[in-house]
Amino acid sequence: MIEGLAAIYIFMLAGFTGYEIISKVPVILHTPLMSGSNFVHGIVLVGAMVALGIAETTAEQVIGFIAVLLGAGNAVGGYVVTERMLEMFRPSEKKTEGEGS
């Protein structure tokens, strides 16, 4: 388990990391990147699996089931749309000497 000060360090460092990643992004990638980060928080699926896995009563199972359902939707959907968008960003064959602008 991660507790106390160690958790605060993780929160802080992760926060800086996210800021660093985004701060140098060209506008053309904003939408794919938002979609990509949307996919990354699909990791909630893992937590949802644990929540359903430790469920004991029916109510917990129902809510846990919903959690996994939604989490899987987030992860899979996020991946599919991001992949489809990024697939189009192939450098043009004619003009490859620079990315220009």
Partner: protein, 476 residues
């Protein structure tokens, strides 16, 4: 086993960060999503081996339920994600994001209900949820619950609005005051959960948070939607990070907080591109009352032009700048426009594409749509790079765009668009506007550009108009 699972989570978290990093450059972006995807698969598989799950009393039923839920949720998302048109991408992102927020909120619900049951049957005298979970876990769990739930219902509304299923921008009179009151009551119940063990409090809290998400999102103007979606994306990340702490899951904490901070920054960048503060987006509804007031400001006649004449004008131009908007994408005209571009280039005309930061429904959305049609990205210019160039432009071809070339954003302080940076199409020698009808743009604001002397209107469906232009240019 536990060490192995933790190692898998660590690798997954590293893959997410590296993947996002690669996604921030067009050259490596595709590899980035593959890496992040590999991380997700690894983390998911490792979780099946988690002792927490395997030691549960109902292990076989629960594992079966997990597999069914993944198959259903994942299957639906796979199908809808493959099928959705590129133009509808923003609302799909909103929808998947809402699902993530809902999942985080549901995880919190399971934990809270568990704690509430334990508290009710506890013999040692500790009887509140906070006693059962510990103060830190309870606080972050409840915070994640409120944020996740708002992101869930808010994202659904954002999806419905962008998908054209919901057009209302007001539910109740004095919406903002009611929202503020509702927010206070919701927070009150959130605090109450901490000090009680009552299931009813938890249920009421979730209902209130759901309604709050709806109420916050409904008044937001259509043009501001990208900011909201980006904000909800960041909020979901935060909620996931908090629930990660509740479950002691490092991968969730890292991935969630990284998205939370990256998303917050992205939200600010978008809001800045539209010259609106994030607070402004929430507390002002563009295109509701104000639009009617400024509507009668633009007096004059729109001058029509036929495709034939427009084609001649463009063929003999020295420079043509194409300003595409969401309307072009809806009409699926980007392929025709690219064809037109190629013909004009052969004739020696310099053709450039000018992209407003919020063209499409999100920053970068238009670039995706043009990339789909095959336009190389060295022909595409950002607003700052092209604006000074409009003075040397013979023809600015505006197709399906409206608000982003509206000069009243600069001159008319009563306009709801006032202050938003625009593309200075009005500076070019001729402006040709391809437009379906005489109506106003997405924000509902009248555009004086259409009434100026050098502007000609080419009425018609984007794709049809583009085909006619190609025809006209070819014949010369």
């Amino acid at each position: 086993m536990e060490t192995l699972i933790q190692a898998a989570y660590l690798i997954a978290a590293a893959l997410f960060i590296l993947g996002l990093k690669q996604m921030s450059s067009p050259v490596t972006a595709r590899r980035g999503i593959l890496w992040a995807g590999a991380g997700m698969v690894l983390a998911t598989l490792a979780t099946f081996l988690s002792p927490q799950i395997l030691e549960s009393d109902q292990v076989s039923i629960n594992i079966m339920l997990i597999i069914i839920a993944i198959a259903l949720g994942g299957g639906y998302a796979w199908y809808s994600g493959k099928k959705v048109a590129m133009t509808d991408m923003p609302q799909m992102i909103a929808m998947y994001n809402g699902m993530g927020g809902g999942a985080a909120a549901a995880i919190a619900a399971v934990e809270l209900i568990k704690a509430s049951n334990e508290a009710a049957h506890d013999v040692t005298g500790s009887s509140t949820i906070a006693d059962m979970l510990g103060a830190d876990v309870a606080i972050l769990g409840i915070l994640g619950a409120i944020i996740g739930t708002i992101s869930f219902s808010g994202s659904i509304i954002a999806w419905a609005k962008l998908d054209g299923r919901l057009n209302r921008s007001k539910l109740l009179p004095a919406q903002h005051i009611i929202n503020a009151l509702l927010a206070i009551v919701t927070v009150g119940f959130a605090v109450a959960i901490y000090f009680t063990s009552s299931i009813d409090t938890i249920i009421v809290f979730y209902l209130l948070a759901l309604v709050l998400g709806v109420f916050i999102t409904v008044p937001v103007g259509g043009a501001d939607m990208p900011v909201i979606i980006s904000l909800f994306n960041a909020l979901t990340g935060l909620a996931v990070g908090f629930e990660g702490y509740v479950l002691g899951n490092a991968a969730m904490i890292i991935a969630g907080i990284v998205v939370g901070s990256a998303g917050s920054l992205l939200t600010q960048l978008m809001a800045k591109a539209m010259n609106r503060s994030v607070a402004n987006v929430f507390f002002a509804g563009v295109g509701t009352d104000a639009a009617a007031a400024s509507g009668d400001g633009s007096e004059g006649v729109m001058k029509e032009i036929q495709a034939q004449d427009a084609g001649i004008l463009m063929s003999f131009a020295s420079q043509v700048v194409i300003i595409p908007g969401y309307g072009m994408a809806v009409a699926q005209a980007q392929h025709k426009i690219w064809e037109l571009t190629q013909i004009l280039t052969e004739k020696g005309v310099t053709v450039k594409f000018a992209i407003h930061p919020v063209a499409g429904r999100m920053p970068g959305h238009m670039n995706v749509l043009l990339a789909e049609a095959g336009v190389p990205y060295d022909m595409i210019y950002d607003m700052e790079d092209i604006n000074a160039d409009f003075k040397n432009t013979t023809v600015a071809l505006v197709i399906g765009a409206n608000d982003v070339v509206n000069p009243s954003a600069k001159s008319d302080s009563s306009s709801p668009l006032f202050g938003m940076p625009i593309l200075d199409a009005v500076d070019s020698e001729n402006v040709i506007v391809i437009k379906r009808g005489r109506g106003t743009g997405f924000s509902g604001v009248e555009n004086p550009l259409f009434f100026t002397d050098n502007t000609k209107m080419l009425f018609g469906d984007g794709q049809k108009a583009a085909s006619e232009l190609i025809q006209a240019v070819k014949e010369l």
